[in-house]
Structures are given as C-alpha cells and as structure tokens.
C-alpha cells in the first residue's frame, strides 16, 4: 500500500515538474504552446538540463543524495517560477478553456483518453522478463543502495574501475535514482510503473501534436490519430519494433529514443513546414537532441533522424539557414560520438574509483 501511495505521489509530482518546466521554457521562448505541447517541451527541457547537470556530477563522483538535493532545489525553483509567471493567465482562462476543449474535441477526447489509459494500464500490469532490465533497473537500485551515481556494477554490486562510455552519458537511469532517493519510491516501481506511465503519456501527446500539425489543428482528427497509432503499436509485434519497446520495455532509454525523441523530429519537421522562419522549432529540436542523449547512447543515430526529417523541409522551404541549425542540433550526438570513440580507442579514461 505504501508503495502504491508513493507511486501515485511520484506520478503527480513528476508530472507537475515537467509541466512547470514547460511553462518556464515556453515563457522564455515566447512559445504559443497549448497544454500538451507545454508538457512535452517541459519533459524535453527537464531531461536536457538533467543531462548537463548529472553527467559532470557522475564523473566527479558526487553522491546521489547531494545530486538529489541540488536537483530538488532546482525543481522547486522551477515550479515556483512557473507558478508566479503563469498565475495571472491561468486563473482567468481555466474555465473558458475547459469549455473550448470540449467544443474542439467532443467525444473523440474520451476515445483518445481511453486509448491512453489502456496503454498506461498495459504498462502498469505487464511483467517484463528481458535481460536488459538487469542493467537498466539494476543500475538504479544499485545507485540508490550505494548512494552513488552509477559507480557500481549493477550486475554484482562491485565498484567499477572505470565508467563505460556507452552508458555513462545517458543520465536517464540516474533521474529515476534521484526520484527514488527524494521520495523513497522503490526503484522497480519508479522505473517500471511511475516513469513508464509518464513516458506513455508523453509519447501519446507527441502523436497528438503531430496529428494537430498534420490536420491543420483539427483536434478530433488528431485524437483519432492517437487511437490508430495505439492500435498499430499493439500490432507491430517483433522484438525490434518501437511498439514492442513501448509496451514491454518502457523503462529503457532506447524506448524513449524510439517513441519520444524520434517522433519529436517529425513534429519539428511539420512545425517548420508551417512556420518557415520560426526559431522555436530549432530550439525545441535542440532540446530533443540533448534529451535523446539523456535517454540512450543509441542517440548516436539521432543526426540521421534530424537529417531525414529536417533537411527535406529546409530544402522545400528554401530557407537554407536551416541547414546551419540542423548541424547545431546534431552537435550533442556528435560530441557524444567523439567521446565514445575516444574512450574506445583508449585515448580517454573515465575513472569511476
């Protein structure tokens, strides 16, 4: 029962933090974002900042408790900033917004909502038996147990001599460890239930946003698109498909790369197609690129995703400055690739003890 209460509390608190982060970033970028886009931007900004803060701390052997405290202070500041910045606007609009939401979506809102709830229930009740969890979840529980940031081998609890470059630059598991430390949630509950549910919701919101862009803001069609994507994810069953990862391995960073970061590129491409001169698209894509790295070392392929989605649009728009921004958004993965190969060639050692 205690775990269930903690899980619910964690879900709400983490959700609030993502939304608050989105509100702050939207304000900074002067982004005209609805609530779903605000949440998505917040999610990406959260993981981008987390990556930039936690990776140096990991390499500096900072304890999990210290990292958690610093991160908690940042999160409180972020929520306070969002509250004070948004107070004026939100209060007045809340009632009229609810009415508008119903007008725009009608019954399709319930249909899409049910599809998302069903996906969350699948993720909550599914018991995964794949061997990869030994590392991804084991890393969280080991970090919580040893009060370190990924300095111990998750397979056997022995301190590492050096960090593995393949994993250490993806701070996503440490985000779970930080929440476990702050709220006292069990690592298995945080990774496989709380965060997994948030990931499912975020991925669906991205599909909804893609639908909105594809159908010129027709929300009902966007809702229907969410439902169809849900069905296809459930019926795209081979062990390699993004859908399989989505439902059975939602705690892994790779899943977020496939179902959040990569679809975000499609969203940005559609966004750029509509707003040719918008710089916000590139800002959001850059946040996506950094957070992709937070999720998984496989983000080494992210420049290909950026190029495939954005370059054709840049060429259609005939706004060639976009190529420069494309390059800029590829930088996080390129930097990671350089460090990764430098460690592989033993030019660089990342000592863990």
């Amino acid at each position: 029962m205690k775990e269930l209460i903690l899980a619910c509390a964690g879900f709400v608190i983490e959700g609030v933090v993502f939304y608050a982060a989105g509100s702050v970033v939207s304000r900074i970028l002067k982004l005209k974002a609805d609530r779903t886009l605000t949440f998505i931007v917040g999610y990406l900004a959260y993981f981008s900042v987390f990556e930039l803060m936690i990776v140096p701390m990991t390499l500096k052997w900072v304890s999990l408790t210290t990292a958690g405290r610093i991160w908690a202070v940042l999160m409180v500041l972020c929520v306070m900033a969002a509250f004070f910045l948004g107070k004026k606007n939100e209060k007045d609009k809340w009632r009229s917004n609810l009415q508008k939401v119903w007008e725009n979506h009608s019954i399709m809102l319930a249909v899409a909502g049910i599809a998302i709830v069903v996906q969350c229930l699948i993720v909550i009740f599914y018991q995964d038996t794949t061997l990869d969890a030994t590392y991804y979840v084991g890393n969280v529980s080991t970090s919580v147990y040893t009060d370190t940031l990924a300095r111990y081998n998750p397979y056997n609890g022995v301190i590492l001599k050096k960090f593995k470059a393949r994993y250490i630059f993806s701070a996503y598991p440490m985000n779970n460890a930080v929440w476990c430390r702050l709220l006292g949630i069990h690592p298995l509950v945080q990774t496989k239930t709380v965060m997994s549910c948030i990931n499912v919701i975020t991925a669906n919101l991205i599909i909804y946003q893609i639908g909105k862009k594809m159908f010129e803001d027709d929300r009902k069609k966007a809702d229907l698109m969410v439902v169809f994507v849900c069905i296809m994810q459930l019926f795209s069953g081979t062990i390699y498909s993004a859908g399989t990862f989505f439902f059975t391995r939602s705690y892994e960073g790779k899943t977020l790369l496939a179902n959040i970061a990569i679809p975000m590129v499609l969203l940005c491409a559609l966004w750029l197609l509509r707003e040719k001169t918008s710089r916000n698209v590139w800002a959001v894509l850059f946040l996506t690129a950094v957070s992709a790295l937070t999720f998984s070392g496989s983000a080494i392929i992210f420049p290909v995703a950026i190029a495939a989605g954005m370059i054709p649009v840049v060429l259609w728009n005939r706004k060639f400055s976009g190529l420069f921004y494309c390059g800029l958004c590829m930088l996080p993965s390129v930097a990671y690739a350089i460090v990764f190969f430098a460690t592989k060639l033993k030019w660089l050692t990342l000592a863990a003890s």
């Binding site: 529980s141 169809f228 019926f235 069953g237 498909s241 993004a242 499609l266």
Partner: protein, 279 residues
C-alpha cells in the same frame, strides 16, 4: 539483430533486416501505398514530409551499398535495426487512416469507416506477444516473482556479513538486484548468456579459470549436470558463495547436500541453502 550479419548477407543485409524488423506486419506496405498516393495526388503539403523521410533514408542508411561499405566499418550491425525507428511508418499510416475515415460526408459512414480501418489495422498487423496474446501479468507492484521477495528475506535473516554472495538459478539471477541491491549474485549475467549459446552479451575464453568456475556453477544450477561434485565445491569455495537458491523441482537436493549445502528454508517454489564447506 541476432544471426543477421553483413559478412554473410552483403547487399541483402538491409532487406533481410527490414523483413526481420517488420515480421508478418503489413504496415510498411500501407506506408508505401500512402506515400505513392501522396506523390500522385498529394495536395496536402504536410504529407510530403513522409516522402522526404523515405527519399533521404533510402539514399543513405537504407541504401545497401552505403550500408555495406560505410556502416560495416563502424560495427553497428547488431543495432542496425534502430535505423528503422526513424522512418515514420506508424504515424504516416495513422495519418492516411484518419484521412480515409474523414473522407465520407455522413457521420454514420465515418463511424463505419473507422471500424473498418481499425479491423484492417488489426488484421494486417502482428499482435504483440505477451501483451495482446498471453498477457504477462505482474505478480505484484515490483513486477518480480513473489517468491523472490521471500527468498531475499530468508537470505537477509541468515546473512553474516554485508552483500552476501548467492548462487541463484536463472529465473531469479537476473532479477534479484533490481529488487534488492544488497545481494550479490555469483553467476555473471553475461556468462550465463554465453553458456546458453549466445555471444550478444560478450565472448569468454572457455579455458580461463573464471569461466571454468562460472560454468561449474551453471552446470549444476541451471543445466542439472551432476557429474563433477568436486568442481562445483571448488567453485563455491573460490567464489565465497554463502547461499545457493534453486528451484524446488530442480531435483538437486541430494547433490547439494553432499556438496556441503544445508537447506535452511523452502519458499513456494525455491529452496534456500547455506553453504557450509568447512575447512
């Protein structure tokens, strides 16, 4: 992808990978039909994005020649399937499906069309094993076998030092540290994968002392081979194993007792032994 190598397949590599990735699912075909329709009749600029994606990827990472001569150098074979995540097949098919549903003017026709499209997507897809078929339902909030929790309790009640060294049978070995990082499994995850015949998690020198010790433990605990009790005893001693956990239906009680293990507890489906080898 296991068993799919550039060396063997050459220019066929991309095709085989794509077939393995999608299996019996027809969505890529629906995607291609949609893209073709956009090319021929497409007035909606938004759908042109899918053409951009397809063209770029076909020229680069899905191009068999590029893959054979460039990608082979960076040793990305086993992870190559991740490039298939980039092509937005599912969002695109969903987009075309919505357009199909919205095409009729009357509401009841739209509803009928939605049902038809849903049925088509289900029929043309391949249900997720363990999700749509034979749902693998979690036993508890931790999503681990209930028995593991009981086993961990027994070990902690009987441990003498910190981080007790425990030999677990395979169903618990890879799960235990996710639940309880205060226990150290003796059997290496990667060795157990290698012993099972797969090299995805690493290769080991079979004549090395480390591998021999691990194999001696695995042979008894997971493969039920009881020919060499001395090797097993030596392996327990050299790994300073304190507990052994086996399945109740493994049928190795007598062997383990003779090897110096003392049964201290039985849970629903496991025996927990304390290792008492003496001097």
């Amino acid at each position: 992808m296991a068993g799919v190598t550039l060396k063997e397949l050459g220019l066929q590599f991309v095709k085989v990978c794509m077939e393995t990735y999608w299996g019996s699912c027809w969505y890529p075909l629906l995607f291609l039909i949609g893209v073709l329709c956009t090319l021929i009749w497409g007035r909606k600029k938004n759908a042109m994005v899918f053409i951009g994606y397809t063209a770029f990827l076909a020229l680069t990472v899905y191009n068999p020649i590029v893959v054979k001569y460039i990608l082979s150098r960076v040793k990305f074979e086993t992870e190559y399937y991740r490039f298939f995540w980039i092509l937005p097949v599912i969002p695109a098919v969903a987009y075309y499906a919505v357009r199909l549903v919205s095409a009729p003017g009357k509401k009841w026709l739209k509803f009928f069309m939605a049902l038809l499209v849903t049925a088509a997507l289900v029929v043309l897809g391949n249900p997720l094993q363990g999700v749509i078929t034979d749902f693998a339902r979690a036993e508890n909030i931790y999503k681990i076998p209930n028995d593991l929790r009981a086993v961990c309790d027994v070990i902690h009640q009987n441990q003498e030092g910190t981080l007790p060294h425990v030999v677990f049978e395979s169903s618990l070995n890879n799960v235990v540290r996710q639940y309880d990082a205060g226990i150290r499994p003796v059997i290496n995850r990667n060795v157990s994968i290698y012993r099972a015949g797969s090299t995805v998690a690493g290769k080991f020198k079979e004549d090395s002392n480390y591998y021999k010790i691990q194999k001696a433990l695995l042979d008894v605990i997971d493969y039920h081979m009881y020919e060499e009790p001395d090797k097993f005893r030596r392996a327990l001693r050299s790994t300073t194993t304190e507990f052994v956990v086996t399945s109740t239906d493994a049928g190795n009680y007598e062997f383990l007792v003779n090897a110096g293990c003392v049964l201290i507890a039985q849970t629903e489906s496991h025996y927990v032994y304390r290792v008492e080898l003496g001097e």
